[in-house]
């Protein structure tokens, strides 16, 4: 593995709830109180309708593999080849992630396969939401 550590997020006032959530084992999304749309990345207003009245809620942590690449070149903190993936959550929003507990091959990484969140502690402040193939078969799709 190349020297160094992966780049880590620096939370801002508008995203702190998300990173506090991953620390405590919750994947937190936001939903507009007016139009009910769930959205990501975090911000204290609804990007669909502009209302400031929004709620943070605990997401199911389930989703499906939406798309990815398998990177073959060295990056600090990663052991190539490794997949850089996008998961589509059951609640609707998509987010970038890595897929763990799964061979990093096109054969093993099948689009639309069910995934579930796997929290990966990086530091005392930062835990990243990674995803692994779903152990239950309850994810949609």
């Amino acid at each position: 593995m190349p020297e160094g550590k992966r780049s880590l997020p620096q939370p801002t006032p508008e995203t702190r709830h998300f990173w506090e959530g991953t620390q405590s084992g919750e994947l937190r999304l936001q939903r507009c109180n007016a139009c009910q749309k769930a959205y990501f990345p975090p911000r204290p207003f609804c990007p669909a309708c502009g209302q400031r009245e929004v709620s943070v809620f605990k997401a199911s942590g389930k989703g499906r593999l939406f798309s990815y690449v398998i990177h073959h070149r060295p990056v600090a903190g990663f052991d190539p080849p490794y997949a850089i993936a996008v998961v589509e959550l059951d609640e609707g929003p998509r987010m970038m992630t890595n897929i763990v507990d799964c061979p990093q091959t096109p054969e093993a990484l099948v689009l639309d396969m069910p995934l579930e969140v796997a929290f990966a502690k990086q530091t005392d402040e930062i835990t990243l939401p990674l995803f692994r193939p779903s152990k239950s078969q309850s994810a949609k799709g």
């Binding site: 798309s67 690449v69 990056v75 998509r94 987010m95 970038m96």
Partner: protein
Amino acid sequence: MKHNSIAIVGAAETTELGRIPDMSQIMLHADAALNAMKDAGLGPKDIDGVSTAGETPTSIAHYLGITPKWVDGTAVGGCSFMIHVRHAAAAIESGMAKTILITHGESGRSGVGRSRAPVAASSLPGQFEQPYGPMGPPTLFTIPVLRYMKTYGLTHEQLAMVAVVQREWAAKNPRATFRDPVTVDDVLNSRMIAYPFRLLQCCLVTDGGGALILTSADRAKDFPQKPVYLLGTGESVETPMVSQMEDFTSSRAFRIAGPTAFAEAGIKHADVDHLMIYDAFAHLPIYGLEDLGFCNKGEAAGFIWERNTAPGGKLPLNTNGGGLSYMHSGMYGMYALQESVRQMRGTAPAQVPGAKISVCHGVGGMFAASGTVIMTNERV
């Protein structure tokens, strides 16, 4: 914009392209700007507007000795220059400036005097993409493609064919970086970069620059070169994070910029003689052909496979060899614009005989932004 009210009267690239270790980034801007001013028969005192990206308009104006009364520093990635053309046209039309210089220069390969800020860990991309190990465009721009492949049945061979056809165009261009023919097998056997993308499906990394000079069409006849008129332009942006694209099989920014330009130009797709679609990676011409309406969804790869965009085909595309084979400094849009101007002047190395209308379509960031410019050599 009124049809044909604005003309490109100066256009040039840097004297050299490829590996230029003896020029810093700002000198690449200046080298291209001096060449474009010579092309137009102008000096710095004749320029009253400056647009640029990568450097600030302040840096460029001061370096070149220009005293502008209008500037535009729109910097949304590689299509910034298409958007500069659109903004310059509006400025000239409204009387804010008379003669506008647009510059680009980038020491993409040699890295001399390059200004490139790292992604801030507190930015949204820094918080929600960078921690997962992307390393620039080869790992981000490419992420939507597997979803496109599953949705429309695009094959690895078809994706490879984009690079094959563009190498055919590059072979006709003495300034192209790579000119030797390649086959689909060659592409599919080249080094894996970020599955499903192999080396020959990714753009070059080179040094270079380019510049354009725009003025009102009424003044264009006083300049030495054959004027190239603007017919229509469009622009849009979507998201700084590729993971947040609305649709992984189509770019919203493309679908706004392209049709806006077509509507403004008042042309149909059948009127287009020559097309440039910014090809940082092999999937971009596929997305562009569909989002601009040249092909139905899912049909662009077949359209390219059947050689419609190849030399001798009915829709010549990326006739300089594109970012895959001609050159790509990082923000390629300026080189696509230069090729459209050459085609409209009738001076391109792979000239499309009798071409009258050229569409030049750019992307910025990873599907983050888009700009489209439609040019003609006929004053209607």
